[in-house]
């Protein structure tokens, strides 16, 4: 078998490894233009803040190490221009074409930047790729910066703000939204987190859509301005789906693309032999039953792994996941699980200003959203329980072992009873 993997991040790496486990002799061709080993976008801010060294951005090791272990060919000399799905061919920019038995599209996602006047600019930065991190760090090391604006009250935005603050830079986080982590946090939780972050010295500007970048300022759509020596744009990401976009063929015959490439539980696209995994594709959101871009490192790993095994003939299933995230900033751990817009019965534990706070929304005794400030152990178990409830027809008890660990981590029995939907 000849396998092609286009894009070599978390999903691509996991796929290569899985293929090699299933098929010791197959030919694996990896197409990755950067020539770098798989990097984790989440580590960029840690590198830029000097929490880790450069090599640590590549969690699976150097290319040489990986290649020695999993035996594949890496092609950084050519650029893939298009994936011809039906014929399972890669079309390169130099015009050459190569065909494969199985193709995995694992092209990831890129930072999203809306049209902004004055962008790009030498003092406007993104934070997605290793190159972005190097660029920001190099700039900050060389240039005195007094004031900064981070556009985007996202998980990346807050990390960037933290690293700027740690360098003594006056930092404002601006967002069109009304509060922090608008897709994960309940409003009161977001306000508490904002309060904590504010007390460390970061300011916030809400209802601010960025319109332009000037010499020493950022301009917003409401006509206001903020002083800024640098601007960091952490607005969001977009899936890299262009390689499979079937511009030339009639609709319905190419790879189905929504906001990301649509795949099933086997990581198959709508075209036979073509798979997709990671941030470029949509997986199943178990909460809604619909596909969506999930954008999590672990998810990319599972998807890549599943795709790899299946490309080599196995029959693996990755059911999908629920939206969940843990964000670690300024010694605060915030965990969001599920849909923060869900409406239902609300249960809370703890003082929102205390070391452990849990707030959950339930519908008919089933969890729909959980926010936690403080304990990742509680987060892990509640996420597991969330999934258990989703997979059980009837409402489910928390297994004894998990109940005990929750209690060990400070949750009282009566609150756990409530999380179970008052089953007792």
């Amino acid at each position: 078998m000849r396998y092609a993997i286009v894009g070599f991040g978390c999903a691509g790496f996991n796929a290569a490894r899985a293929i090699r486990t299933e098929d010791p002799s197959g030919e694996i061709h990896v197409f990755e233009q950067t020539g770098a080993p798989p990097a984790n976008p989440m580590l960029t801010t840690y590198y830029a803040s000097e929490a880790i060294n450069f090599n640590a951005v590549f969690p699976f090791g150097t290319l040489e190490e990986i290649r020695a272990k999993y035996d594949f060919v890496i092609h950084s000399e050519v650029k893939v221009a298009h994936v011809r799905a039906e014929s399972r061919e890669l079309v390169f920019e130099n015009g050459s074409v190569e065909s494969f038995d199985r193709i995995l599209v694992a092209t990831g996602a890129r930072a999203f930047v809306p049209p902004i006047e004055g962008y790009p600019s030498d003092h406007a930065f993104l934070m997605r790729t290793t190159a972005d991190a190097v660029r920001l760090k190099t700039y900050l090391d060389a240039t005195p910066v007094r004031k900064a604006v981070v556009v985007g009250a996202s998980m990346v935005g807050i990390k960037v703000a933290e690293l700027l603050l740690n360098r003594g830079i006056e930092t404002v986080i601006a967002d069109f939204a009304e509060f922090l982590f608008p897709v994960a946090a309940f409003r009161d939780v977001a306000e508490e987190l904002e309060e904590r972050v504010r007390s460390r010295g970061i300011r916030f500007a809400w209802h601010k859509g960025v319109a332009g970048i000037g010499e020493r300022c950022v301009r917003f759509s409401d006509g206001t301005e903020l002083e800024a020596d640098i601007v960091c744009l952490c607005i969001g990401t977009r899936a890299n789906t262009e390689l499979v976009a079937n511009k030339e063929v009639v609709e319905g015959e190419g790879v189905r693309v929504n906001r990301g490439i649509v795949v099933d539980e086997h990581m198959r696209t709508s075209v036979f032999g073509v798979y997709a995994a990671g941030d470029c594709c949509e997986g199943k959101n178990l909460l809604t039953g619909e596909t969506m871009i999930i954008g999590l490192w672990q998810n990319a790993g599972f998807q890549g792994d599943t795709a790899g095994h299946n490309m080599a003939g196995a029959n693996r299933v990755y059911r999908g996941t629920i939206p969940h995230n843990i964000t670690h900033f300024m010694d605060i751990y915030f965990i969001g699980i599920g849909d923060n817009r869900a409406i239902g019965e609300m249960v809370t534990y703890g003082d929102i200003k205390g070391p452990l706070f849990v707030k959950a929304v339930q519908q008919k005794g089933c969890l729909k959203c959980v926010n936690i400030i403080g304990s990742s152990e509680v987060g892990g178990i509640l996420k597991s329980f969330f999934l258990k409830q989703l997979s059980s027809a009837a409402s489910a008890h928390l297994p004894t072992v998990q109940r005990m660990v929750l209690m060990k981590n400070g949750l009282p029995a009566d609150f756990i009873d409530l999380l179970e939907g008052g089953l007792r």
Binding site: H324, G379, G380, K383, K408
Partner: protein
């Protein structure tokens, strides 16, 4: 040889010997707020007018397809190819707690530097032919380590390993 940890919940009484043995093996400094990798717990629950007691000893379950391994953004967690224990090298750990968020059993711990530490199954001891510290101590024959073959033969009743497998399948 692959190994499996199991807890016979019929025999466990939550005495804590395993937990202290773990702390002794791993130099856990409780006075500085460090938590043992293995914890014990007694749970008393009312159920239809009757009270039921459960006793459990919990640490890393060394899951077959361990979710923490995939969740770690830094590649700190991996399987020992010989023992199948989930082990780690926390040199590059950034303290993000993604592993804890992925773990259904609250197993990861974080040291004073904020880096992840956890039960490694006493991997080096096991490779040297010794038992894990907790298994060695367990005075009630509740906590055991089996080779895969032994486990199949023993079919331990009321073991926690089965419960764990079931939980992981749901994820």
């Amino acid at each position: 040889m692959k190994y499996i940890f199991d807890l016979n919940t019929e025999n466990c009484v939550g005495c804590g010997a395993c937990s202290v043995a773990c702390m002794d093996q791993n130099d856990t400094d409780t006075e500085r707020g460090e938590k043992p990798f293995r914890v014990v717990s007694t749970l008393e629950q009312g159920y239809r007018g009757e009270t039921r007691w459960s006793y459990i000893s919990v640490a890393c379950m060394h899951c077959e397809d361990a979710p923490c391994i995939k969740a770690c953004p830094c590649g700190c967690l991996f399987k020992d190819e010989e023992t199948n224990f989930t082990i780690y090298d926390n040199t590059n750990c950034i303290g993000c707690h993604s592993c804890a968020m992925a773990c259904p059993f609250g197993a990861p711990r974080f040291n004073e530097e904020g880096k992840m530490v956890k039960c490694d199954g006493c991997n080096d001891r096991v490779k040297a032919g010794l038992k894990p510290a907790c298994v060695k101590a367990c005075p009630f024959d509740a906590l055991k380590m089996y080779s895969e073959d032994e486990y199949k033969q023993a079919h331990p009743a009321r073991g926690i390993h089965d419960i764990v497998q079931q939980l992981l399948r749901q994820e």
